[in-house]
Symmetry: C2
Subunit: 394 residues, 2 copies
């Protein structure tokens, strides 16, 4: 279980297969996010049609509602949501910092100050964004919660420092993240023994490289996480406000330092250009709420960029969402721009659903296409064609 085999490498880009209790994960892969054990606006059958390799859920949200005990009682995430995809939960760390701090009415958001969410060596005290109630996550409790949720892949508890953190703070947060990764892994390994004894499937834990935009910190963090006995490694703290230049440079720094024979997951990226550039740098797994969030706001990915469908010019258009043939989706094949615009402008739920499905399928196919290109030794051409459809690399 949790073997990773590489089928091909083309430049730095890779095509691999990761084995999980709920099936093989073919990489590169974009993983749809189902925050509260549902990909927003998308049913399990609609999701299954997209053939997602992995589906995410968020520990922070499920911890608050309905509670990890409830999810566990109702069969873990797979039983709860009645799905059989490979699943992944984050540790709750990112949400504690990005959502948890602003919920109590007193704290005004995580501003790189430990005083707002109370960060101690032991863990993080935060307030629920729902009702302001106080809660505490530690590396150990985050792993316990994730063991109850029962995903195939779980994440170490980390501190995601803001993208504009100064270097002094970035180092402190990184070093704490390293200590927390070791504590997460220790507790995770104990929990796996309990899970197996209870007849439950095992889970894989991925630690998370941090270090904000500082190359030396990122290198140090990558080497630290690469040395842990885990089946995969993630990179966090990207797409959190830093420039694209910083994001891609961090990827350039980190990728060569990660084990070749483990899947590499860049957390929280979902812009098409970021996916293809990350694949080109040797990363394998990605997730983001962007495709569903854009979909709920009336925007779709196209081969030329993002398009807002509410525009008046689409009112009577029998055209389709403009995508190259390889990125055609069921939605782009089935519906006119006129119908999609009608659903968007009249605020019909189906508009959110169809646009979310299109955006998810677009990203999933983008990664499938990259995989195929790697297998056929033409990844450079694939990347060049992507940018050509965009009108050139910026």
């Amino acid at each position: 279980m949790f073997d990773f085999s590489l089928q091909a490498v083309d430049g730095a880009a890779r095509a691999g297969t990761f084995t999980t209790p709920h099936g093989a994960v073919k990489t590169p892969a974009f993983m749809p996010v189902g925050t509260r054990a549902t990909v927003k606006g998308v049913s399990r059958e609609q999701l299954a049609e997209l053939s997602p390799q992995v589906v995410l859920a968020n520990t922070y949200h499920l911890y608050l509602a309905p509670g990890a005990d409830v999810v566990e009682k109702l069969g873990g995430l797979h039983g709860f949501a009645a799905v059989d995809f490979p699943m992944l939960t984050d540790s709750g760390g990112f949400q504690v910092f990005s959502l948890g701090a602003s919920g109590g009415g007193e704290s005004k958001g995580y501003k790189n100050k430990e005083s707002l969410v109370k960060i101690t060596e032991d863990g993080v005290e935060f307030r629920s964004h729902l009702d302001g109630s106080k809660h505490f996550f530690s590396p150990e409790s985050a792993m316990e919660t994730q063991a109850k949720l029962g995903a195939d892949i779980v994440m170490a508890f980390d501190e995601c420092a803001p993208g504009d953190s100064d270097k002094r703070y970035a180092r402190r947060a990184m070093e704490r993240t390293h200590r927390w990764a070791e504590r997460s892994l220790a507790r995770h390994n104990e929990l796996q023994i309990e899970r197996v004894a209870a007849g439950k499937h095992p889970q894989a834990m991925f630690p998370i490289v941090q270090g904000v935009v500082y190359d030396d910190l990122r290198a140090e963090s990558a080497k630290f996480m690469a040395a842990l006995d885990v089946p995969g490694v993630a990179v966090g703290g990207l797409s959190v406000g830093e420039s694209k230049e910083d994001m891609y440079r961090v990827m350039d720094v980190v990728a060569p330092l990660l084990p070749v024979q483990k899947p590499r997951y860049v957390m929280g990226i979902g812009r098409p250009e970021d996916l293809v550039e990350a694949v080109a740098r040797g990363f394998d797994l990605f997730d983001c709420v962007l495709p569903t969030r854009l979909g709920r706001h009336g925007s779709v990915f196209t081969s030329a960029g993002t398009l807002q469908l509410a525009r008046a010019e689409f009112r009577a258009s029998d055209g389709r969402i403009p995508v190259v043939p390889e990125l055609e989706t069921k939605v782009s094949r089935t519906y006119s721009l006129g119908y999609l615009r009608h659903l968007v402008t009249t605020d019909e739920m189906l508009g959110s659903t169809l646009l979310s499905l299109h955006n998810l399928e677009f990203l999933i196919k983008l990664c499938e296409g990259a995989r195929k290109a790697v297998l056929e030794g033409r990844h450079a051409a694939y990347l060049a064609a992507f940018w050509r459809a965009r009108g050139g690399r910026p």
Copy 2:
């Protein structure tokens, strides 16, 4: 085309088949409502799984947005929404009175006064509930709009007087509805010649019996509509605030006066008990927004009545929506009450979708069960079993 054949009659209840350009409609049947050319929260594939005999759309809403010309250009309703179910449009009359009057900021709702929506012999002037703009529907224009929308079944333009109208007003509205039915039919017949010449499928027009809760008016209206040369007849102005006793008595009065060999459609009813009682009185077709509206508000039909799923007792429940085996739905088989409650209480779109699907499937199966009972000569037992599950007839 538009033949209606009866397969069986059991007491007053009937099992029939109505032929339309998009397939045969097996009755009795509940018809889901897709107001703006989408059943709220439900995709075409999810809808197809429910095997709906007919799907509705609302002329008033589509006239305002995106406009009948746009729908026509994009292939009529079937092309626009990319569906091939038999479809039905209402005439817009009901919405003009129930929605149109309150949109202008000046008028305070249709209160049985012709001064709010301006009703003349020619037609109705109303304001858009979206932007307050003024519009005018006549029997002729309503049929022209419906010809552009291109449903299989279209409805005559009528005046749906409020359920508390006095008899004097009820008679005036009814007589106007009779004159409008004749004008609707004349224009409809002209439009059908144009449609056929243009290679488009023909449409059937149903006139609408009115008369509020006054038995003599209802009888007079039923006889008038029964004499028209049309393939089916509808009953309007029910479930608009009158008592159940009044509703069922009006059905008792009207049904025996309608042609045996034409389908009979009661507009706007969707409570399970109203459907089974209407079937028992010899009606064949029904529509209502209730199943999807209840679904969006967290409520489901059960065999014992309506159930609100947000209740705290369902938080960790691995039980299912309680229905008798014949009324099990895909949703009731697949999801725990705990998961459904989680979706409802966290306001996830999927909650609205799943509960809407359950409620629609429940009503569709209720009618399918009634049809089967009629075919097998045990409709009285079917009706008795329905009420037994409810704990007795009120």
